[in-house]
Symmetry: C2
Subunit: 423 residues, 2 copies
């Protein structure tokens, strides 16, 4: 084993399906997270189809670019699976059949009372000199190859096979090979401001962070209804790295105030859930335009049954009247999409569920149903209970699913602020 | 303008955020779909950070690999935005300031009563000889460059800016430059079978399709609760291409029978929605473990208010009893996660909403709450109405969100089959 320090990586995803409009490479996000933890920086990603010539080119280029090449996919048993052969050609290490792999594959089939199809024999062929990375969840073993000053790792494509292989044997092999620098990250979540408004407040801080030791780098990422700031730093002294990040986070919170909902990358539904739990309050939801998305997001949190008993999706006026007790006259006077109806939905569902807090959401998700006074994207969110009732109107842009998403985000954000006020 | 035919493309996504664990390149899926429509095959994708040297290398490699290079990102006004300068260097076409761009950017700011910040002036710099692709939704114009036998297109990163630029001026410029071959695709959706079971039935067909004229190629893609088969063919004679695909789809349906829910790539919730609409039936939902996901998926479909009035998420036993009229004795005897309770939830919500069809879902999404007899992933789905009541138990694997997803998929699939029986 050579002693070169591994600082940089290139990721190569192999598979013609990754060059169709239907499937994106997702393994590289997981891989990047794990490599970054070891302060290995990903310098580029390449995606190639099941084409020997092109894959060979990609591997050759990867070997020029980075200390470590991580390949995913192309280790299956069929003709389309070209990673093994192409590696053998590029690294000039002919394929040899490894009996220990063959036995493992046979044993996997035997466990299901099946005989190994002859085609799977191909998976026991590996470039000479390769170390085998065993795969507990599939027939394709991974490969670890040393070539000149480089390391090449080949892993199967399915995430559930790849992930435990990385978290176990791959990280163990990488650890003694990396520098003593470590990368640390923080994710600060912001809601209630547009990306450009966040940027405006954060930008003066970036300059300051560049002069810190260690330097703190920042990236801003906006998505519907929220903005994330990703801060990172690298240092051999972990205490100094954490202090540098703590200070930067503190400055951000100082600049953005209550719009910061997390400094540790938690999703908003989990922040709200944790707050409900610590208050010991229960919540009930009455949704119209969000159609169950708000309930689904809140119930994505394990243990959410502790604070959520009931959510209803009342798409029709009749159900708003019958189930939630919204007065018919209110709907007649203001329309189903209105602040009074949102408030009546919230208090109606809370009363029914005997919950401390009620939420009502009514709006126009589109593409039809908009009017001049209330165009598509108009959404009223109301929260009742714990000392008051509040309602807010929003004008969201985008398609139906975007409106649903932003409306659910706005409701969670209102809840978060109300719960915070009672801390 | 040169007359080389554009057959192949390479996509280069530029941006350091695309090399973090948090953000994947999504533009390339959209771009691939549009390029494929013109029979341009994407031969590879590269993702590079905001690094001039590496980007230059990626462009040089792209120019070797493909007829067309489509670049996304790096056209903003800041120092990190390096696409313009790097293109100028690689293509040896110095940057020149274009007055028409400057005026447009100034006008955009003026429309918001703002003065153009000096920094935005950079966006008016373009490599000499570039054609400008105007951007209706942002300050960064796109670039179209001809270089030797190649075409290089540079587009801004935000999808809402990029997409209309592609659908308008870019496709218009590409159309006269492509071969007379056209690519056609079909997406066949299958539910109720594992990927390996679908593969087993489809594999004998693949071989037959390889001998057709034109050849039909197939890719299989599994995701929780469904399998998709993507068929494609290329031909100059569109009629022959369509016939070839029609025949292949017919053979697939013959092999897979009723497990095929769409032959045109529709999501299952839309197939169910269309079927409900054509029957003129309304549906009501009672969810426990899916927590609103089933309602949210059904209401993702525009116009779903035509067949959905009411959905309830009854997480607690009390609400199952009070709101849905599930007998307390039933819960005591069988437990809340049981077939009788799922059936009582379905009929209870249908009665309340006066809907023709009721759906009840109860299960254990995890990570806690499992028992030996009913482990995490146990889910009962019941459908009542239109001539009967049916219930089924499932044993799903995976995390909480995977269980929710598969359970919602199973419920939609049961609905689909029942609705089909009444056609």
């Amino acid at each position: 084993m050579r002693s070169t320090v591994i600082d940089t990586a290139a990721i190569i995803a192999v598979g013609s399906e990754l060059l169709t409009p239907y499937r994106a490479d997702s393994n590289s996000l997981f891989l990047t997270a794990r490599l970054n933890d070891l302060a290995i920086e990903v310098q580029g990603k390449a995606i190639v189809g099941d084409d020997r010539k092109r894959l060979a080119l990609a591997i050759e280029r990867g070997l020029k670019d980075a200390d470590l090449i991580v390949m995913t996919g192309g280790l299956g048993p069929t003709d389309d699976d070209i990673t093994r052969e192409t590696l053998a050609t590029v690294l000039d290490a002919p394929l040899v059949e490894r009996q220990e792999i063959l036995s493992l594959i046979r044993a996997r089939f035997a466990a299901h009372n099946l005989e190994m199809p002859e085609i799977n024999r191909r998976q026991a062929l590996v470039p000479r000199g390769a170390e085998i990375i065993s795969n507990a969840r599939g027939t394709a073993p991974g490969l670890w190859l040393e070539w000149q000053e480089r390391v090449v790792v080949a892993l199967p494509g399915p995430p559930r096979e790849l992930e435990p292989m990385v978290d176990g044997p791959i990280l163990k092999r990488l650890e003694p090979r990396v520098s003593n620098l470590r990368l640390r990250r923080r994710v600060v979540g912001v809601s209630g401001r547009a990306e450009s408004q966040v940027e405006e407040h954060a930008r003066p801080l970036y300059a300051r962070w560049k002069d810190r030791n260690p330097v703190v780098r920042a990236t801003i990422l906006g998505s519907p209804g929220q903005v994330e700031l990703h801060l990172s730093t690298r240092a051999s002294n972990l205490r100094k790295a954490e202090d540098s990040l703590d200070l930067a986070v503190e400055e951000l919170v100082g600049a953005l105030g209550r719009d910061v909902y997390t400094t540790e990358g938690l999703p908003l539904e989990l922040v709200v859930g944790n707050s409900l739990r610590s208050h010991g309050w229960r919540i009930a939801l009455a949704e119209s335009c969000t159609g169950g998305l708000l309930a689904s997001r809140l119930t994505d949190v394990p243990g959410s049954s502790a604070y959520l008993d009931l959510a209803v999706v009342t798409y029709s006026n009749l159900e708003k009247i019958n189930l939630l007790g919204v007065p018919a006259s209110l709907i007649e006077r203001h329309g189903a999409v209105s602040e009074p109806v949102a408030l009546a939905m919230a208090s109606g569902v809370a009363t029914r569920a005997k919950a401390e807090i009620g939420v009502g959401v009514t709006g126009i998700a589109g593409p039809t149903g908009g009017t001049k006074a209330k165009p598509v994207g108009t959404v009223f969110v109301a929260v009742t209970g714990v000392g008051g009732e509040r309602a807010k109107v929003f004008a969201f842009r985008g398609e139906r699913d975007m409106v649903k998403r932003q409306a659910s985000q706005a409701a969670l954000d209102m809840l978060r602020r109300i719960l915070d006020d009672h801390e």
